[in-house]
Amino acid sequence: MKTDVLVIGGGPAGMNAAIEAARAGASVTLVERQAHLGGQLVKQTHKFFGWAEKGAGTRGIQLAEEWSKAVEEHENITVMLSSEAIGLYDDGAWMIEKEGKLIPIYPKKVVIAVGAQEKTLPIENADIPGVYGAGAIQTMMHVYGVLPGEKYLIVGAGNIGVILAYQLAQAGAEVKAVVDVLPKLGGAYWVHVTKIRRMGIPLYMKHTVIEIKGTKWVEGATIAEIDEKFQPIPGTEKELDVDTIAISIGLSPLTDLMYQAGVELIWIPELGGLVPVHSENMRTNKPEIYVAGDASGIEEATTAALEGKIAGAVAAKDLGFDVNDEAIEEWKKELSQLRDAPLLERLRQGLHKLHEAAKERGLQ
């Protein structure tokens, strides 16, 4: 199958990339491995934060619906659901697995917008049932309507950990503690922090989990304070009576497809670890490959959507389609406004490193 632009991933970034490339006149194929569009947004029943004039007040789920409607209605876009990109082959085919069939796609340009994966915690016993990634718990809760346990320890007090604590408490579960190794809260939005404080959920900063008890199932956990070198301080241990442990120590971009295709990756912890080197126009060292959203560095749905728009428009432009350059500049401006928030200092440091790397390599 041939297409001008292949967009991999149907989250906020991918949907917006598809819309803009199609709007410019390119034929677009959007592949999404889930049975529905929306990406991480479908897990978000809380009121959306971030995007003051456009999105705030709306719930993530609603935004996802709006975008996916726009995608499905556009005649230039072919949407393939339950379709996963499984690799790049020697004849230039991006192979898609769709419900027991393989479909090679030969695109002129590719936008990789596959999102992120949760980081795992290398600790003893972390592989027994009862220890889950935060995302898995959210999926169980929101998509399947079940709770995996009753008494929770949440490891990691970033956005996701704090929101999860709130959502679990609302759903009637008992959250015994949220721990984080950082001395003070970095990423989490205060609204949510205030909410969980009000609900009486203890938040332990400079703490980590040092022991997971149980053999067949989690039967408890020990947390402890840590020193500057992240080593537990003897005597500070606390035993917690929990049956479920949620790990939310952060996300890292899904980079396997990029790596296999030869996209250069660099280490920027502020953006989630290994990230693809890319320009503000979302171009990479591979002229046919663009990146957008969490896959290009961990941020938010708002920024993912804008990056998607830029990637889609620039890909179409590079193919010779007529694209409104002013719109692209406008999106870039919106991006820098969003990134200007006081809490986002760490993120800005990461982006600075990224832009330096892109400049060094002459990426436009």
Partner: protein, 389 residues
């Protein structure tokens, strides 16, 4: 200032590892092993590591008999955990799909019996009785040799290298030989990014990369790289012991000790690459499709089993599908062991040992001198009928 060595072995695949160890064991002198990447980075690390004595010439069967004996005692000889070397002798089951093919197998078996390799000839019914899970449509007969099998290519190579190091050999990883250094009619060392390293004898065991290294000093050998692909499945409980192969259908498939099935099928019309700059190691979906349809005919039970990974490697082909071994007498002190042609892993332990004997002037355990580099020019090819691909 780099040290000077008596022997520099270029390449740490199975070939280089065996030669280095066998030289060290013979106290031949100081030895340096160089690899542009690391041990097993070449064909050895991508291979299926099948080992069989079921060949069709006295020459190959005899060499493989020596190799088998080596493999059977390797853990003791190299003092390495037996379970890591992972020799599993579940046999090779060779299926024949026509009378003519069966006749060839019978002829091979006569040769094998003469050398003391006790291959059995089986009817389709006997095959079905022993391995009822196989679908035998079109099979007219088969041969089976129980001592054939496979080993772990990584640990086998590591074991040789470790043993060589204990005997005093040195290994330098991530050190490519950029050029072989010569003075008049002699090799004197190798050029590396860290400067020249001098040595009186150089053994080129750089797999498919050997061709270019030698060409740069004016030696032409007919050794090229061909892309061959392979895949592995998720682990299943062990239930199929032998490596199952067919020469006419060009496939092999076997279950590994950890339970995954590993298999390959030859490409239809592979390109011949003489220069590494042409190499392309990307996987193809054509292989995936061909492999799946070929193997499902014989192993229908694999239908819903998951393929976990596929990869490509380079067969180290020569005109007559045999190694090139021995002195390259265009230069004093220059030796070669390369070109195993898709079975260089299994022949490594015997041919590598015999080359070491040749180098130090010992009596050869088996005469392999006809595998010299001049045979191509002299029209003295060594022909073997029983090969896959």
């Amino acid at each position: 200032m780099n040290k000077t060595y008596d022997y520099i072995v270029v390449g740490a695949g199975i070939s280089g590892a065996v030669v280095a160890y066998e030289l060290a064991k013979r106290k031949a002198g100081s030895i340096l092993i160089l690899d542009k990447d690391f041990p097993t980075a070449g064909a050895t690390g991508s291979c299926a590591a099948g080992i069989r004595a079921q060949f069709g010439t006295e020459f190959n069967v005899s060499l493989m008999k020596i190799s088998l004996e080596k493999f059977e005692n390797l853990h003791e000889e190299l003092d390495y955990p037996k379970e890591l070397i992972g020799l599993h002798q579940g046999g090779y089951l060779v299926l024949a799909y026509s009378e003519e093919e069966m006749e060839n197998l019978r002829r091979n078996v006569r040769v094998q019996h003469k050398i003391g390799i006790n291959t059995e000839i089986l009817t389709p019914e006997e095959v079905h009785y022993r391995w009822p899970m196989l679908r035998l449509d079109g099979v007219v007969g088969a041969t089976y040799h129980a001592r054939d099998g496979h080993a772990d290519p990584f640990y086998t190579t590591f074991a040789y290298i470790e043993a060589a190091k204990r005997l005093g050999a040195e290994l330098r990883k991530y050190t490519p030989v950029l050029k072989l250094l010569t003075e008049g009619e002699k090799v004197v060392g190798v050029e590396t990014p860290d400067g020249p390293i001098y040595g009186g004898n150089i053994v080129v065991a750089a797999g498919t990369w050997s061709t270019k290294l030698l060409k740069d000093i004016g030696v032409d050998i007919p050794l090229w790289a061909e892309k061959h692909e392979i895949l592995i499945t998720e682990p299943l409980a062990r239930f199929l012991d032998p490596m199952v192969i067919s020469f006419s259908k060009d496939f092999y498939a076997q279950q590994r000790p950890h339970g995954g099935f590993i298999m390959g099928v030859s490409p239809d019309d592979p390109e011949h690459w003489f220069d590494p700059k042409d190499y392309n190691i990307q996987s193809s979906w054509h292989f995936l499709k061909k492999m799946a349809s070929t193997i499902l005919e014989v192993m229908p039970f694999l239908k819903d089993v998951h393929i976990v990974r596929q990869w490509a490697g380079f067969y180290d082909m020569t005109t007559d599908h045999h190694h090139i071994v021995g002195p390259i007498d265009a230069y004093d002190g220059l030796w070669i062991l390369a070109g195993g042609s898709g079975h260089g892993f299994m022949f490594g332990p015997s041919v590598g040992m015999i080359l070491a004997q040749w180098i130090v002037g010992e009596e050869l355990a088996y005469d392999i001198t006809k595998l010299n580099w001049k045979r191509f020019d002299e029209g003295k090819l060594v022909i073997e009928p029983a090969v896959v691909g």
